[in-house]
Symmetry: C2
Subunit: 221 residues, 2 copies
DNA sequence: CGCCCTGTTGAACTCTTTCAAAAAATGTGG
DNA sequence: CCACATTTTTTGAAAGAGTTCAACAGGGCG
């Protein structure tokens, strides 16, 4: 882990974070060289960041090295604010970048005190954001089979792992969710069926049983 | 526009919206039939929604009909909360769905409304979410050329429409942002150059001039 | 000058889409 | 309950967009 409190400086008056947090907040600046990591996916989210100058990329990776960059952050952009205590993606300097760093807990404490209620609303929005981040990785970097496996696991989890899963949506809806055509979705279903990862239950093709969640997780990862 | 205050009912105790808003908030329920639109992209965001039962899809569309579904919302999920006054996507019933509807303004009023104009944390997170929603449409439904045009317009705007645009990132970064390979990005650059939509400036291929923003917008739309 | 990094271009290949047809499921009316 | 129409899903074959593998070109820097 990097030591981040190298350059302690007075927060700029116009900085969003500084404005949000007020002057009493611990706030320092650090300069990252090209390619340096600001934080990694899975690390504890101790700080919130705002760019003073330079460019930062935030991204997720699949285990085989496929990478999906969520955003390029330029001057004044904020990033790294998490709902939970863990960073959901990695942040790296694209160019040399000067970054303003604020303690997450002190920031959130201040917000909670000053604007009670906004914190819980913030939670809801952050949850949507989290879903969107995962979905960008899926859309940008997964194959048709990966996508369908991920979709089935998502539905399985949200429906609380039922024995027989009833999908409320048709193949076109699934396709438009996964960035595919309905024919490709149908073919992917057939492959998973032939490979014994699922079977259809009853007359309809919308009721199905996941036979091998492990294998689906493998595809998704 | 639909009349939504059909069934006025006491908010469920465990509902997120009710919990957020408190019991004094105007809160009603409405049942949407399969295929019905809850709200459309671009409409005024008067209400916030939470699902009681059924499934709702939220999506964006390109002008030629390509559709990208952001999320399927199931029981208890909240959706439709916007930062600004306009809905950024469309919401429709996948199945018959019962939805709890709350007035946005009364919800936000209750949640200690901050003074207008000042940056809020919620604003910052919502901006990230908004970007993610647009990017999902790009990743799921746009061609390589569309994607590069969208990227260039995004950078152009964020760099305040400079004459000569200096990209801080290399082709691989752009590729990983757009869900492409670096070779495809390079080819797309060459096509846009040959079609006189941009030209490279100076020695490097990271400095460029947008020659026809209109045409790029056309590609992106 | 030569090396490394970044970017471009070509050719073969692969995955997904498109177009087409048939099969399966759902709904309707007698 | 059955016949018929409609919608949804599956499957096949051909076409297309993007990837992969490979070679090369140009600039920056020791």
């Amino acid at each position: 882990m990097l030591i981040r409190t190298t350059t302690v400086s007075r927060p700029a008056v116009d900085g969003q974070l500084a404005a949000l947090a007020g002057q009493q907040i611990i706030c320092s600046e650090f300069t990252y060289r090209r390619g340096m990591e600001v934080f990694g996916e899975g690390e504890e989210a101790e700080y919130v960041y705002q760019i003073v100058s330079g460019t930062i990329r935030t991204y997720k990776m699949l285990c085989d090295g496929r990478r999906q960059i969520n955003s390029f952050h330029l001057a004044d952009d904020m990033f790294g604010l998490e709902n939970g205590i863990i960073h959901r993606f990695t942040a790296e300097a694209v160019t040399q970048a000067k970054v303003r760093i604020t303690s997450r807990s002190s920031l959130l404490d201040t917000i909670a005190q000053r604007e009670p209620g906004q914190a819980s609303l913030l939670n809801l929005v952050t949850r949507n954001l989290q879903h969107a981040e995962n979905h960008m990785l899926l859309l940008g970097r997964k194959t048709a089979l990966d996508k369908l496996a991920a979709f089935l696991l998502e539905m399985d989890e949200r429906l609380a792992h039922p024995n027989v899963m009833s999908l409320p949506m048709n193949r076109r809806d699934i396709a438009d969710y996964l960035g595919l055509t309905l024919e490709t979705v149908s073919r992917a279903f057939s492959i998973l069926r032939d490979d014994k990862m699922l079977r259809f239950d009853g007359q309809t093709q919308r009721q199905l049983v996941l036979l091998d969640r492990e294998a689906l997780v493998q595809l998704d990862a």
